[in-house]
């Protein structure tokens, strides 16, 4: 593989990692606070639709983003209502949220745009354009550094930079602030937080809403940045891959970035090198397609060992039986 191809693959990795990373950090906030969320997929989908729909109608991508995030927040609130207020099963709630989004987005899209459950294609103002770094063009020719700067680092949409900036921000919030301390505590032992005089419900809702915000960004990125509009089921399992990345990262922000980059790389490679020939043997395209999933399993089985989730994760906080 030559250097330029490598840059291209890495460039594609960055693009494909971004929604995973946003969703993964979203899951991180939620799960660190003890609320499991397999509904990342659904929230992303809802955000993707509403951001595209509103951007298409208003021609303003920022309004689109706002609508997408709002939609995701609404679903988050629903998940919170079910799993925090009413102490329901978090996995079921997540599943229901995802199905709801899968059906509802198409239903509304059909009812609004009558285009078979998709939004009209977005024009330039309806999308997040690339941000070109200063001197990107002038240094492009410089060997080695040039392509890295101008191709790999420069020229992504603002949400990509937001996603990667969210990593240190998440780390800082979790490990350097009072809110982070309480949030981690409530995922480990909510009774400890409760008896320390802090509201478990409040903290968990805050975490779930942050999760909604980040999922909203992820969905908006898919529909208004990576793509130019919404189509049915456009998240294509990314929410689940983000969950796998979260477990792989053992619920830690920097590791989450590593995991998402790895999965992004796997996807990029699978896209780029289909039908790989290995010594006369052709690896079928199906194998390449399944590769990210197979590797996820292999990684979970072989390299991560036992990933221990936040102790109180998945269990509603019940004081009185």
């Amino acid at each position: 593989m030559d250097f330029l191809t490598l840059i291209q693959v890495l460039d594609s990795t960055v693009r494909l990692s971004t929604p995973l990373l946003l969703a993964c950090l979203a899951g991180l906030f939620s799960e660190r606070a003890g609320i499991f969320d397999i509904g990342l997929e659904g929230k992303m989908l809802a955000a993707a639709f509403f951001s595209a729909a509103i951007a298409a109608v208003t021609g303003n991508v920022w309004l689109g983003l706002l609508a997408g995030v709002t939609a995701s927040l609404v679903l988050s609130a629903l998940h919170g209502l079910a799993s925090i207020t009413f102490r329901g099963n978090q996995l079921i709630s997540g599943l229901a949220v995802t199905m709801l989004a899968q059906g509802f987005t198409v239903l509304v899209a059909q009812s609004w745009f009558k285009q078979g459950g998709r939004t009209p294609s977005l024009l330039a103002e309806g999308r997040f354009g690339p941000i070109t770094f200063p001197f990107a063009d002038s240094v492009a020719g410089v060997p080695f550094i040039g392509p890295i700067y101008s191709e790999l680092l420069s020229g992504h949409s603002i949400l990509v930079y937001v996603a990667f900036a969210a990593v240190p921000a998440t780390w800082w919030i979790l490990f350097r602030t009072r809110f982070g301390l309480r949030l981690r505590a409530v995922g480990e032992n909510p009774a400890a937080v409760d008896t320390a005089g802090v509201s478990v419900v409040g903290l968990r809702f805050a975490a779930v809403m942050i999760c909604g915000l980040l999922c909203g960004l992820a969905g908006a990125y898919l529909a208004t940045s990576l793509q130019a509009g919404f189509v049915k089921d456009m998240t294509a399992g990314r929410g689940y891959i983000a969950l796998a990345a979260l477990i792989f990262a053992k619920w830690r922000p920097w590791h989450a970035m590593g995991a998402c980059l790895l999965f992004g790389l796997l996807q990029a490679v699978a896209l780029r090198f289909q039908n790989i020939e290995l010594g006369g043997l052709t690896i079928p395209v199906q194998a390449m397609d399944a590769l990210p999933y197979i590797l996820t399993v292999v990684i979970l089985a072989g390299f991560v060992g036992k990933a221990i989730p936040p102790k109180a994760g998945g269990e509603p906080y019940v004081k009185e039986r």
């Binding site: 350097r176 505590a185 480990e188 400890a192 008896t195 005089g197 509201s199």
Partner: protein, 510 residues
């Protein structure tokens, strides 16, 4: 004018669904005193205190603190009112450091750093003042339960509590640690703080408290001055009948060795050696007590004998070698070798809390042919069997269809003991038989153990209660750091000598 009561509860009632945990309870505690609360399991002691601490909300009633009617909707309000509580089950975040646990909820600002450094300073002062030494940077899951309790007390002191509630604080402590705790409590009282102490141990009540209240079935039945009462009287108030506080037994007539342990070593999940090549022998018709501070390998010893872990070395049961790892070393095989096992933790091991009583009576013996009919289990036979056992062991309520979690701690323990003893095993392994069990049930369980011994069965008893070890055992072995520090006869030793052995001092190692 006398000072107003530090705490006054008026007409507190609380129901959990159909369970009336507290019924119209009123008490008053004078400032600067230690007030004891005793009562059977499930009497409602913890519930009452949790209401005072704002953990539960009372259905009815008023709380007056220092003469002021105070509404306590949550723990934050309780903390502001100067109340601190050390729960029966600690409320600590296990993978946090001591320092982080202490500041949690009591941080000084949005950022952690200043809070942490301030807490470190204050912690040092508190530690010096009250001999409450803990490493502020140690993680909770790396320190022992004794230390964890210190953290809980420090948490309360850090929040400048004037009223300190302790719910069964000594259940998990060694005698030395308990002594130290009571020294601290006395110090705090001298400083004018008010302390409420819940315990099942009458001796602690007699030694420590100024006044004592007795609870029974959700009601407060009596409040007396400690100086004016006696353990026997308190026991009677608690249970509603006279209780024998001494174990009544004849000298043992030990027979042939039933269990022979040679050079047994056990490692835990992390590969740390917890039992280090010990040799022991338990004979028919005797009770061998294993004394020791919690965490010195007794638990692992019981578990390897009961087939819950693997080990190396050799164990012989009635002369036959038992495998220590691999196939045939599991609990089923041990049961088939006539070893019964009452585990240390009844709630997470001995019982399935969501199972009905009758399923729990089969638990572990569910493969017994007597419980099968063809390929299926004979549930009817099991239920009949359970009814018989419940009657014999006076399990209340005697309802085979009640889920284990709905029995009180003492009755849960009776179900486990009934299941194991009624198997008529040759060897009974029994760990912490009376932990957190009220005195009525203690009396009953002790009697059952002695009866089994008198039938010529071998019993290996592990307990952190020295009193229990001394009163039940025919022979006492002391474990420290995975070694047997020595064996003593209970009538030739005393708590002091055993205490030294438990601390790893002197004695000839075997």
């Amino acid at each position: 004018m006398t000072k107003p009561a530090a705490i006054e509860l008026k007409g507190i009632s609380k129901a959990f669904g159909p369970v009336q945990a507290n019924k119209d309870i009123s008490i008053s505690v004078a400032p600067g005193t230690i007030h004891g609360i005793i009562g059977e399991n499930g009497a409602g002691k913890s519930t009452l205190m949790s209401i005072l601490y704002g953990f539960y909300k009372a259905d009815k009633g008023e709380i007056w603190i220092n003469g002021k009617n105070t509404v306590i909707p949550d723990s934050q309000a309780a903390i502001s009112a100067g109340i601190g509580m050390v729960f029966q089950h600690f409320k600590l975040v296990e993978n946090f450091t001591v320092l982080e646990n202490i500041i949690l909820g009591a941080e000084d600002g949005k950022l952690l750093k200043p809070s942490l450094s301030k807490a470190r300073r204050i912690l040092k002062e508190l530690a010096a003042e009250y001999e409450l030494n803990v490493d502020p940077d140690a993680r909770i899951d790396e320190i022992g339960v004794g230390k964890q309790q210190r953290v809980e007390i420090l948490k309360a002191l850090y929040r400048q509590a004037d009223i300190l509630i302790l719910d069964e604080p000594t259940g998990v402590l060694t005698p030395a640690e308990a002594d130290q705790l009571f020294r601290i409590l006395h110090r705090l009282r001298e400083e004018g703080k008010t302390i409420i102490l819940i315990t099942h141990k009458l001796r602690e009540i007699m030694d420590t408290t100024d006044t004592v209240s007795v609870m029974r079935r959700g009601q407060m039945t009596a409040t007396v001055k400690t100086a004016e009462t006696s353990p026997a009287h308190l026991a009677e108030l608690m249970v509603g009948r006279k209780v024998l506080l001494q174990v009544d037994k004849v000298p043992a007539k030990p027979g042939a060795p039933v269990l022979e342990i040679e050079n047994l070593s056990v490692r835990d999940e992390d590969g740390v050696e917890r039992v280090k090549g010990i040799n022991l022998e338990v004979r028919a018709g005797e009770i061998l007590g294993i004394a020791g501070v919690a965490g010195n390998g007794q638990s692992e010893l019981l578990e390897v004998l009961g087939g819950m872990r693997s080990g190396t070395g050799s164990i012989r049961m009635q002369g036959a070698e038992l495998p220590l790892h691999g196939p045939g070393s599991h609990g089923q095989a041990r049961r088939r070798a006539h070893i019964a096992h009452v585990p240390e933790d009844r709630q997470s091991e001995g019982l399935i809390m969501d199972f009905h009583a009758w399923e729990n009576v089969a638990f572990g013996y569910h493969r017994d042919p007597a419980y099968q009919r063809g390929m299926l289990m004979d549930n009817a036979a099991l239920q009949a069997d359970t009814e018989a056992k419940m009657a014999k062991f006076d399990v209340r309520p005697p309802d085979p269809w009640l889920a284990a979690k709905n029995f009180s701690g003492g009755n849960q323990q009776k179900i486990v003991v009934a299941r194991e003893i009624e198997r008529n095993p040759e060897l009974l392994l029994i760990g912490q038989p009376t932990r957190g069990v009220d005195i009525g049930a203690i009396e009953f369980i002790h009697k059952q153990i002695v009866e089994l011994r008198d039938q010529g069965k071998a019993i290996l008893l592990v307990s952190v209660e020295l009193e229990e070890i001394l009163s039940l055992s025919d022979r006492v072995a002391v474990m420290f750091d995975g070694h047997i520090m020595g064996e003593r006869l209970p009538n030739e030793t005393d708590e002091k000598e055993l205490g030294l052995l438990m601390a790893g001092v002197a004695g000839e190692a075997t």
